[in-house]
Structure formats: C-alpha cells, structure tokens
Amino acid sequence: MSVASVFPRLEQLLPRVSKPIQYVGGELGAVVKPWESATVRWALMYPDAYEVGLPNQGVQILYEVLNERPDVLAERTYAVWPDLESLMREHGVPQFTVDAHRPVGAFDLFGVSFSTELGYTNLLTALDLAGIPLDSAERTDAHPIVVAGGHAAFNPEPIADFVDAAVLGDGEEAVLEITGIVRDWKAEGSPGGRDEVLLRLARTESVYVPRFYDVDYLPDGRIQRVVPNRPGVPFRVHKRTTTDLDQWPYPKKPLVPLAETVHERYAVEIFRGCTRGCRFCQAGMITRPVRERSIETVGQMVREGLKFSGFSEVGLLSLSSADHSEIGDICSGLAEQYEGTNVSLSLPSTRVDAFNVTLAQELSRNGRRTGLTFAPEGGSERIRRVINKMVSEEDLIRTVVTAYTNGWRQVKLYFMCGLPTETDADVLQIARLAHEVIRSGREASGSRDIRCTVSIGGFVPKPHTPFQWARMERPEVIDERLRQLKQAINGDRSLGRAIGYRYHDGEPSLIEGLLSRGDRRVGAVIRRVWEDGGRFDGWSEHFSYRRWVDAAAAVLPGYGVDLDWYTTREREQSEVLPWDHLDSGLDKDWLWQDWQDALGEYEQEDCRWTPCFDCGVCPSMDTEIQIGPTGRKLLPLTPVNSGLRVPV
C-alpha cells in the first residue's frame, strides 16, 4: 500500500501563506525513500516553526540514524503557522512531512521532541491536523504510535493523555530499539493490536507508557501513588544514556535548509552531560554523566560536516563547552586549520572564566570580535551560592576586563530572576555588577566605546533538579523587581548609557512552571487552551497569559487544585512528585540534600575533578564519566584550502 503525496493539494495553498519555502523541503541532506522500501516508518516532529525546528540537533540525529537503516524511513514535520493551518482545515490537507509530503497519519510512529513544554499546544494542532485522535485512548491500530522525547519528556505527565509513550534520555539507541520492537510486531501480523505493541515497549523498562499506570490522589490534591496497572510493567522507567559518543558521530550529513533558520551553522556536540551542578539547570541534572567526544572525532566531524553542508560557521556545542578536557587543543587546532578561510568558529555556553576569553580569541582569528556572552545567573554572591553557580565577582570583572582589553566591545551577561530565597536586594546587585563591569572595562581598555547587555530570564523550577520542591515567585513580584533593577541601572546616567537591559515578564514563566511540574490533571488545561486557540506558546506574539489563567481557572478547581497550587507552592520532602516513577538516575535523597544545601547556601563541587558525591546516576544507570585528555591530535595538521581549483 503506497501513500500519496499531499503536495499537489498543498501547493495550491502555498502562494497564500507567508514564507512558503518552509513547507517545501528540498534541504541538502534530506532523504526521501520509497514508501514500500521500509518496514518501519517514523514521522519526526519538532513542535515549533520550521525556522526553529530545522536546526534542532536531536531531530537531525535521529533522522539520520533511522534513515541509515535500509528498512526504516524517517521524515520530518514541523508546526505550521496559523495562516497555513486555517487553509489546511478549509481544504482538508492533513499534517504532512516536508520530505515527501506524506500524511503524518500514515506513519507507524510519530516521534515528537520537546525541548520545552511550551510546544504542547503545537502537538495538539499537529495531531488534530493529522487526523489522529487527541486522546491516546481513542486511537486504533490505524493510527501512529505517538512517542514523546526530549528534555520535557522527563515529566510527560501533563501530556500523558495525548501521547502513547515517552522516552527519557538519549535517543540514538532508543529509537532503534523501538523500531525493532515495532518491526517484529508488524512481522508477526500485529498480534494484540496497539495494546500489545505498547506493552512490549513498556516491558523494556525504558519506554514509559502512561496508560499502563494509574495515578491516585490524596484528598488534599497531592498524589498518593503512581502504580502499574498491568503485569510485567515496571514500577519505574529508566532514562537512556548513549555512551561512547565517538561511535555516534551524528549529524554527519546536516540538513541545510533553503529557508532562513535561527542557526545557520554546522553544530557538533563536543560532549554531553554536565556536572557543574547548577541547581536550576535541568539539562545538567538529567544528562549525567559527562561523556566527551574525542578531539579526533570532533575534528573529523567538523571537516566532513563543513564539506558536506557548505556552512561557513561551526558551533562547538555542549552545556559548558570550555569544560572539554582538550578544549584548548580543539580550538587552536581548528583555528589553525581554518585560518585565512571564511569559516568562523563559535563556542556557545561558556562559563565566566578568563580562560574562555583566550579560547574565544583563538576562535576569532578569522573574524570580528563583536560580542562575548557570560552567564553569572545570579546578581549577588549569596544567590550564586544558592544556585551553585560558583563565580566570584572578582572572576567576573577580571573576565570581562580581559575581554574588553583584547578588543571585544560588547559583553552580554545572563541572569535569572525569581530564584529560590531571592530578595529585591539580590536582584539589585545585578545593577551594581553591571556598573562595575563598565567602570572597570573603561578604565582597563582606555575606551568609552564598550557596552554590556544585561539579559534576565525568569526562573522556572524543573523536575529532577534540587529546585523541584521550590515555590515560584508571583509574576507581580518579579515584574516589580525587574522595574527596580531598570531604575537602578539607569541610576547612574554615565554608566547606564553603556548598559543594555533585556528581560522577560514574569507571566510566561509561571505558565512554563505549571507545565514543567504539572501532573496528568494539567492535560485538561492544555486541551482547553488549545481549543481556545492557543498556538505557538513559546512566541510572545502568540502567547496569551489570560488564556492559560482562564483555562486553569475553569478546569483545575474540579480537581481541588489551582494554578497557585502548581506554581507558587513549595513541596515537602514526603510529597510524591508526578515524575517520581520516572528515573533520571538521580537519587531523590541526594536531590533533597542538595536542595537543603541550597537553602543553607552551601556549594557543591564538580565530580569530574573532586570525589564522587553520590548523586546516584552512575551506579543506577551503569554509566561512568568519560573524559580525556586523550593526548591525541586534531587531524590532519595541514590547513584546509578554501579553493579546490576547478581545472581549466
């Protein structure tokens, strides 16, 4: 049975929408296989607009890993903008993949990668446009199995009604294992239908199938327990960890779009995981332990990735890139290779450290020194101890001064507002810090032509972090602190003139908080918001706080809870959290202890350089820290020529 392309119908609509190229596909690196050639077919979605979703590394990696298998095909789909959505509804065009424009509903599996909870409403749009019932319970054997992944899948409870399964952790091996189970089940003639294949997936202990778990609540609204309702279904589902990243050098053939996207670069992940231990950082908690990619593999990936894609920018990605044990050699090696070419190198996510300026200097040999970014995250020494971001004010000033004296004109500083135990004074310290940055920078560089941008994000407590028990601050309080901060920055006209100030209002963070730590009851809120027109909640021009507040007020009292209960309420140690049955490897007692240490303003070291502090991940996941130095070199040592001459 073949599946027809929807393109002939879609194409009639494209002249009427903005940026039609995003729906057309045709990227370099895209794979279109004959439908019949595959026994298992995946539609992969990043639930945001194409321009954001296309560069996503997770989707690109899984896309390539799956398509390398001869009997598997994977295609991609993204959230369509409201202009196209309404035309698709009017003309009966279903959610489609951009590769071969096949209807998503025809695939065996529909994998959706959630980096953020704000993509949940877009999942509902895609399901609905695909003709897949929103409720997992109403789906039949004819519908794809909907699988959630990505960081938000570490608490998929708010979307438990809408997905059939969720995978925690690294996807490379997990997708192949799921593919194998589905392949076997189909080969046997799909015995037992949908229920049976989900059961087989659940029994692996690494795929969470919400329907096989019952949630009981206490009279006060808290969860009493979450228990399996089928024999053979594990009490806890464990995250997946890909070890030895050198065995998984993806993406090898990065997708190169025709449409403009948020990142136009070849990105290589130089390591995965982080044990810096910043207490607000979910990524740093759920991706442990640290696993480095070797300098040789990084060099090879960059070389081949650039050759394949024609990109002129390389991003060396990780949660804290300067922490790679051979980062110095990687940077100088790449800088040497690409010196005199138009290739630029960047190192996002660096910590506050003068060493990083040295690295940045190496990387900017070819180009301009426009801006450097650092993330002290907290304005006062005290709050930085609470969040375990071990940066002293002295470090920060020394670092930015080094940057200014080495020719950088612009430094960007990231902070958070609304952190646990935070007071107005902690936030106002940001102004003092920014003033000091400019004062010292002017003095050291002898120039008044320097700038600093202060960028403030709202703190959102996340599952599987020491702050999972914390209360959120109310939006009014956040907004008032941000107003005071602005005033304080501009309090000194001369210094304030050189300081840019960017911030987000407290309201969207509160909703993100609801979705992050929500349980299954929050699903009804998501559905109501979606029915009320909620789309693209990660975009300020589409997000409506009012819509979420109204939906929460309409739905949650029926369960004896409300928006505040989920967000501004501190949890006790004994409370069963909605994600307790989902195992990130972190020991809950250790997390609680780290939460107590936060409140006591005690810092926690990094286990890469100090003895293990028993967070629990390595023994429970049977993994280990994989770091260098390997002592090897970036090969080859000869510079890369930009001009492969075409013979005359």
């Binding site: 392309s5 393109f7 002939p8 194409e11 009639q12 494209l14 002249p15 009427r16 940026k19 039609p20 190229i21 729906y23 057309v24 596909g25 045709g26 990227e27 370099l28 190169v256 025709l258 449409a259 403009e260 136009e264 650039l306 050759k307 394949f308 894609s309 024609g310 990109f311 002129s312 138009n342 301009r368 930009s642 001009g643 492969l644 001459r645 075409v646 013979p647 005359v648």
Partner: protein
C-alpha cells in the same frame, strides 16, 4: 579577481517557492561546497562576489535566471556548471555558464521576459476572450502592494505579446518541465512577453489586468514559469544575454 563568469540557472517545481534571499544564501553555500575559487570583496566583512540580474518573484518558476560571479583563478565554465549544479538542491539547477567578455553588463542585456502562465481549471475559450479584451484596451490600471505601499500602474503598456496556447493539460507545456506535480488537469496556457518597465509588470499584474477587463478569475492559483530573459529585438525576439559572450569566446578560439 581574474575572471567573471555569467551563469544561467533555473528554479523548478516545489523549489519555485524559494525567495531570492533564500536562493542567494543557498548559492553561497553551494559555491563553498563546490570549492569554487570565488573572489571576495575587500573590507571588514568580505563578501563573495556574486551579483544577480532581476530575479523571478517567489512562487514563480524560471528557466532563465542570471547571475555573475568573480573568481580568483580561471575556471572552466563547463566544469563550473557541473560542480555548482551538484552542490545545489535538485530544483535549483545550474544550466549554463560563460566567461564574461567586454561590452554591456548583464543587467543592460536584459529588457524583456517571456513567461508561460498555466491556468488550471480555466477553459481555453474563456482565456482567449479575456486576452482579446485585454489587448483591445489601451490602458489597464492594476494595483499592487510594493515596498512603497499600494501602487496603481498600467499593466497593458509593457505587454509586447499575449497569446493563448493550444491548451491541454498542465505539466506538458512544450519542452518545459512542469512547475508543479499536478498533471492531467485541463487548463488554458498563456504565453506572455513583457518589456521591463518601472514598476515592473509581472505576470500576476497581467492576471490582475485580465480580472479587471474580463472578470477572469482562476479557480486555483496559476502556475507561472519564466522561459526566457534577454534583449528584445525589433522583430520581437528575445536574445539570450549570454550569447554575446559565447560569440566572443568562439571568435577568440578561432
């Protein structure tokens, strides 16, 4: 820079939705992938030397788009065509390249375009009547949103020729790849030659004109392909803008 090369390329099928900016980005990457020894501008932010002649609107297919590049070392145009075409997505196809000779630049060699407009679902007779009415009207004011805001201008004056083809089914217009995957739908086919004017009269302006004079309202969006661009001769032919360069090469080789 030792050489300038003029290139003709096509925008086909689904990739006709590529905007000019999108194409320019893709072309720069293709230049890098193909290892073309492109020349760069001087200055703080060097840019590759690539300049474009008037580009077809987003959503319009084309068999005749032109650009010019500067290279640091001499290249063989034939090899360049192959290398660049392989480096671009199928649907953005490099068709021809010649070494630029002396004489007027590309832009000065282009003052007219020939377009094919497919109107699926429009009977040939209805199209013919509308075309006749259009041609019989000395001036057909139409409106379009331009960068300067809504503008009203004449869509008739710039039209050198407008004929209704034999009709038939979409996707089999003589010798031209179909701009879409839709085939087998009966449709009228218009052949249009337009002189370059300011503001430029584009095929959709002529279609607006047909609506104005004869209420011609295509049931689905028309599919438009630019077939030729070049210099309009007195006899109404359009001369390939690369022809002069090609002739010089031929003379030099003799």
């Amino acid at each position: 820079m030792v050489q300038r090369i003029r290139i003709r390329y096509a925008k086909r099928g689904p990739l006709r939705f590529t905007s000019h900016r999108d194409f320019a980005r893709a072309f720069e990457r293709a230049v890098r992938r193909a290892g073309v020894p492109i020349a760069y501008s001087q200055g703080f932010t060097p840019h590759p030397k690539i300049s474009y002649a008037s580009a077809a609107p987003t959503g319009t297919a084309s068999e005749a788009e032109y650009l010019e590049i500067g290279v640091q070392t001499e290249v063989d145009p034939g090899d360049l065509v192959k290398a660049l075409d392989a480096a671009l997505s199928p649907g953005l196809d490099v068709l021809d390249a010649v070494v630029a000779g002396p004489g007027p630049g590309l832009a000065d060699r282009i003052d007219a375009s020939a377009w094919r407009i497919e109107l699926p679902g429009v009977p040939t007779e209805a199209a013919a009547a509308a075309v006749a009415a259009f041609l019989a009207t000395p001036e057909v004011p139409v409106e379009r949103l331009t960068k300067q805001g809504r503008r009203s201008f004449d869509a008739r004056g710039a039209v050198v020729r407008l004929t209704v083809g034999a009709g038939g089914t979409a996707g089999e217009a003589a010798g031209v790849p179909a701009p879409s995957e839709v085939t087998g739908v009966p449709c009228a086919i218009l052949d249009l030659v337009v002189r370059q004017t300011n503001p430029a009269v584009r095929p959709d302006d002529v279609l607006s004109g047909l609506r104005v004079v004869a209420d011609l309202e295509p049931p689905v969006p028309p599919r438009v392909t630019r077939l030729v661009q070049g210099t309009l001769t007195a006899s109404g032919e359009i001369v390939d803008p690369l022809a002069a360069d090609r002739d010089q090469v031929a003379i030099a080789e003799r």
